[in-house]
């Protein structure tokens, strides 16, 4: 029973990280209609920035998180402006290949700057934990903070897209860019803004992920990136609640297969579930279906 609870808690915590990353994929996909495969690597950059700030500059952890967010936000906007914006009229294959190129570029740049040696990442929230049920159930502070961060981000984004002018303009762009322009919305600026938000979230995810795993290498972001992408598709790409649901479910499935079956199987099962969901519901669990009137 306690193993079950322990697994559930770590599943939800891991899933929360996936959800935060998946949000970045889903928002960018929703608006730019592209899969930003470099998103996972922005996570890695965020983690390195945080690592450098605390290790080399000896600044407090919260400053390092802010630094990571600032650098990643700028990085996201620059990547969009330099690599994707010139391809606005190009086919989706060209954009996809460019995104993969950007991903390799970031990994290799990180290797040049920080070498491929594993860095030991000190958790930004300390290594404390809470013990429940006479010490049978241990919940780390990192896990709690991760889940809390995920909830706060989710609520903030929902409020942003439903109540602010900028947020509504984003939804308008995600539906119909031409019509959005006819309303006077600057579509290019809206796309940049989306990349900025997605990349800021990636920075937070990177710091949280490494706070749980404590190691950091240039490919740290790749696998979580792919899994979060799976989570986004699983939940319904383009949908914010879908990213949350997909992320959490994926985290739980992964932790449970690791624990009860085998860690080798966990990826196979994660992707197996994705395939089944897509066969039954091609638009994902919460994917939107809006009848179009002609």
């Amino acid at each position: 029973m306690m193993t079950f609870l322990t697994n559930l808690v770590s599943g939800i915590s891991l899933g929360s990280v996936y959800a935060i990353i998946a949000l970045g994929y889903t928002m960018v996909y929703g608006i730019a209609k592209m899969l930003n495969f470099a998103h996972g690597d922005v996570i890695m950059v965020g983690a390195y920035i945080s690592f450098c700030t605390t290790s080399y500059l000896a600044l407090p952890a919260w400053v390092s998180v802010i630094f990571a967010i600032v650098v990643c936000t700028a990085l996201g906007v620059v990547i969009e402006g330099l690599a994707y914006k010139p391809l606005r009229q190009a086919g989706s294959l060209a954009v996809l290949i460019t995104a993969i190129g950007v991903s390799y570029f970031l990994q290799n740049a990180a290797q040049l700057i920080w070498t491929s040696n594993t860095k030991v990442f000190t958790s930004v929230v300390g290594s404390g934990s809470i013990k429940l049920f006479n010490g049978q159930l241990t919940i780390t502070v990192a896990a709690l903070v991760t889940v809390a961060a995920c909830i706060i981000i989710m609520v903030a984004l929902t409020l942003f897209t439903t109540t602010t002018k900028m947020g509504k303009a984003m939804r308008a762009c995600s539906e119909d860019k031409g019509a959005a322009q006819l309303m006077g919305i600057n579509v290019n600026r809206t796309i940049s803004m989306t990349f900025a938000i997605g990349s800021a979230l990636a920075a937070i995810a990177g710091v949280l992920l490494c706070s749980s795993y404590n190691t950091l290498i240039p490919t740290t972001g790749a696998m979580p990136g792919i899994k979060a992408f799976t989570a986004a598709v699983f939940g319904g790409i383009g949908s914010i609640p879908g990213a949350l649901l997909g992320g959490i479910l994926l985290g739980i499935i992964e932790v449970f297969t690791n624990s009860y079956l085998s860690s080798e199987l966990s990826l196979a099962i994660v992707f197996g579930v994705l395939i089944v969901v897509l066969l039954v519901r091609p638009s994902g669990l919460l994917g939107k279906y809006v009848p179009e009137k002609v």
Binding site: K168, A169, R171, A172, G178, L182, M183, G184, V290, K293
Partner: protein
Amino acid sequence: MLKVNDINVYYGAIHAIKGVSFEVNDGEIVTLIGANGAGKSTILNTVCGLLRSRTGSIEFLDKNLGSIPAHKIVELGMAHVPEGRRVFLQMTVEENLEMGAYTQPRSTIDPNLERVYDQFPRLKERRKQIAGTLSGGEQQMLAMGRGLMSNPKLLMLDEPSMGLAPILVEQIFDIIKRLHERGTTILLVEQNARMALSVADRGYVLETGKIVATGTGGELLRDEAVKRAYLGG
């Protein structure tokens, strides 16, 4: 108000608009009529900046629109209600209308909403409804209401009566006439050439990307060639 001078528009190798010039004066209703594929929508999309002409110029309120991006042109006082409505299906009626007022100061939104709701009471009843669940006619009203939210000086309407029941078509044309009386300048594209010409001050007839005839609404209604081609004999 609007001066279009010798525009040529291409879709890749397709030469869709071939040296078209026309103008719309302050306070006029001008209509463009022509068969399917003649290039009417292409012209409107070029005027509002979504498409670009390779030659010539487009002047709006004595400003050359040259390389001004579409979203900036809206700020100058032009609203385009595009073909096929293009309302934001996943947003509510009221959110759609708010988007129409995107370039406007906050303080103008409420009075404009009231005005649009006055004109389309149906929209008021459904203000919280998701636009995707409106009927086709209601979506058309929403598209028009959204265009009016920016208090445009020039309103361009691309087939506003498409797919509507006759009674609703009447209503749309009534609204066009009322807007005209209040001084809004209107550029109207219509399949329903008879209706369009009867409300229009002037009209242009478009054939495969070229203007082949022009005159007042009345003149074109009586023109033999126009009668044969667009008014069913």
